[in-house]
Symmetry: C2
Amino acid sequence: MDKIIHINIEDRLAVVQPGVIYAELDRALSPHGFFFPPDPASGSVCTLGGNVATNAGGIKGAKYGTTKDYVLTLEVVLPDGRILHTGSKCMKSVSGYDLTRLFVGSEGTIGVITKITFKINPKPPVTSTAMATFETLEDGGQAISEIMYSGIIPSALEFVDQQSLKAINENTDLGLPEVEIMLVAETDGYTKEETEFQMKTIMEIFRKNNATTVKHADESKGGAAALWAARKSAYGVMARINNNLIVEDLAVPMSKVPEMLRFISDLAKKYDLKIPTVGHAGDGNLHPVVSFDGTDPDQVGRVEDASEELFEKVIEMGGTLTGEHGIGLAKMPLCILSMMRSVWIS
Amino acid sequence: MDKIIHINIEDRLAVVQPGVIYAELDRALSPHGFFFPPDPASGSVCTLGGNVATNAGGIKGAKYGTTKDYVLTLEVVLPDGRILHTGSKCMKSVSGYDLTRLFVGSEGTIGVITKITFKINPKPPVTSTAMATFETLEDGGQAISEIMYSGIIPSALEFVDQQSLKAINENTDLGLPEVEIMLVAETDGYTKEETEFQMKTIMEIFRKNNATTVKHADESKGGAAALWAARKSAYGVMARINNNLIVEDLAVPMSKVPEMLRFISDLAKKYDLKIPTVGHAGDGNLHPVVSFDGTDPDQVGRVEDASEELFEKVIEMGGTLTGEHGIGLAKMPLCILSMMRSVWIS
C-alpha cells in the first residue's frame, strides 16, 4: 500500500507515494498545525496521485489555489520506461524548464506519477462563517464582485442556486428560502479580530446588495456547520432527483457567474431538465448537476444537446471546459474543438 | 511603447504587454488596493516580460510565491512565426496541458512572449516589522526553523550575514552589531491585532534563541524603514568593496540556510575573497555577492574556482542552481551537468 514517505515541517514539504488518500495526508499534517490546502470535496476517498493528475481543486481555490500551486517535485515513469525526476524541493527554483507543471493535470497521458513532493501550508487556526440569501442572481452577483473590490479574499465563497435549494427542501427539513442564490462565506486568520474584520466587510456588502437573510455563525446554534448544511447536502440530495446524474464542471471569469447561472436556468427550461447548480463563487467555478433517467433515450438526447449548448456558451464567455475535474474521455472532443478554435491564431 | 492593456478588479486580473515595467503595474493597481505580489528588488526597472521569462521572485516569496504563481495566460510567438495562446483567464482551469508554465522561466529559448494576463491580489493594508541579531549562524538558523514550526509565514523574512554587516558599517553610519546573522521579519494582514499577534510569536522565537538585539518597528524612530536600512543598503555598499561584483543566486531547503552560510564563509577564507551574503531566509534563497578585481587574472581564477565549489555544494545539499535570477549563459554548463546527474535515474 502506498504511503507518506516523509513530512518535513522546517522545509515545509511532504513526500508521498501517489496512492495515499488526501485525508490521510491531512490527518498526518494536522498535529503540526499544517495542511495541504487544495481540499477537494472527495478528500476522504481521492488519491494524491489523482489530485496531481487532474490538478484537483476545492472550496479553498480563491484564497489558496489548487493542486498545481503545491507540487514541488515529481518522479514520473515515461511511456518508454525511463524514470524522470522533475522540479526541486527548494521553495524557489528557476533552473531549467518547468516540466513538473506539464505533468500536473495531464491525466496520465504522458507518464505515470510514482512519487510527489508537495509544499505544505500552516493552517490558520481561526475561521468565521456567514450565509446570505438573495432574491435575484443579479444582487448575489453584485455582492460577489463587491467582495473582490473590497480587497477581502474569503477562504471560501460558495453558492447554491434556486433549483438546488428546492431539491434540498424536498429532501431535508432544512426549510431554506427558495431564493435565486444563497452564498456561504468563510474567512480565516490567526486572530478573531482578523476573521471578524473580514467577515464584517463581507456581511455589509451582503446587506447593501439586498440580501433577504444574513446569518453569522453562532456556536450556540450549531455554528458554522449549520450554515454549511445546505451547500454540503447538495450532491446527496441531487442524487435522489432521478436515476442518473452528471456533476458538470466549468469555470467562467468571476464577474460572469450570475450570467452563467441565468443561462443554465434557461437551458434547463428549454430542454425540460433539472439542472441545479452549486459551486465556488470565489473563483468562478460552477458545478451544474444534470439529473436524468438514463433508461429514457429521449431524456439522454436532451441531456446531450443541453451539454453541447452549455459548453458552447462557456467558451463564448471566455470560460473553460473544466475548472477542476479534468477532461477525461467525455470532454475530449470538446477540448480538441476548443483548442482548434482558440489556441492558435495563425 | 508597451502598455497595460486592461485591469479588471472583479475578475482579479491584469493584461499587459511585456515591456511594461513592474513598478508601472504596481502604480496602476495601487489605487484599487491591489498588487502583483512577486515584488522583485529590481521592480523599478525590470519589465514584466522579463519577470515571466525568468520566473522572477522577490522578498515576498515565502508567503506569496513567485511570478509563476500569477501567470494566467500568455500570447507567445514561436520560432516558426506561429502565434500560440496558452492558459485561461479563469481562476481555475484544467483544460489541456499547462503550456503556460512551460514558457514561464524559459528565458526566451522557446518563444517570444507578446502578451500576459496576471492574476492580481488585494494588498493587506497593515504590516508589522522587527529585526533581530544573533551571535551565531546556528542560533539564527534555529529561529528560522522554529518560525516555520510555529505556523506563521512572515510576508518577508530576510537575512544579512556578518561579512555584509561589516561592509555596511565600513560604508555607512548605521553602526550595526557585527554578528554572524541579522534577520528582518515582516508580517501582514487586515488588522493590527493580526500582524502583531504574528510578530509577537516571531519575536518570542528570536529571544528564545539567544538574539542579542530584538527591535520592533517604532514609527517615532523611523519605523520599519530604519530596520530595513541594513538589508536594503547591502547591494549598494557591496558595489564599493572592489571593481567587480557578481550577485550570485542559489536556493537550498530552508533548514540548510545556516550550513550554507557557514560553507560560504569558509569558502571566502579558502580562496581569499570577500563573499558577503544576503537573502531570503523565509524561502531558502541566498545571494552570495562575490567582490573581486576583474583586471587581476589571479583573482578571476579564484572567483571561478570558488563558484564551481559553491555550486557543487549546492547540488550536494539538494539545492538549486538558481532560485530567481535564471540560468542565462553563465550557468548553462552547470545546468546541463546537474540535469545529467540528477534528472534521469535510468
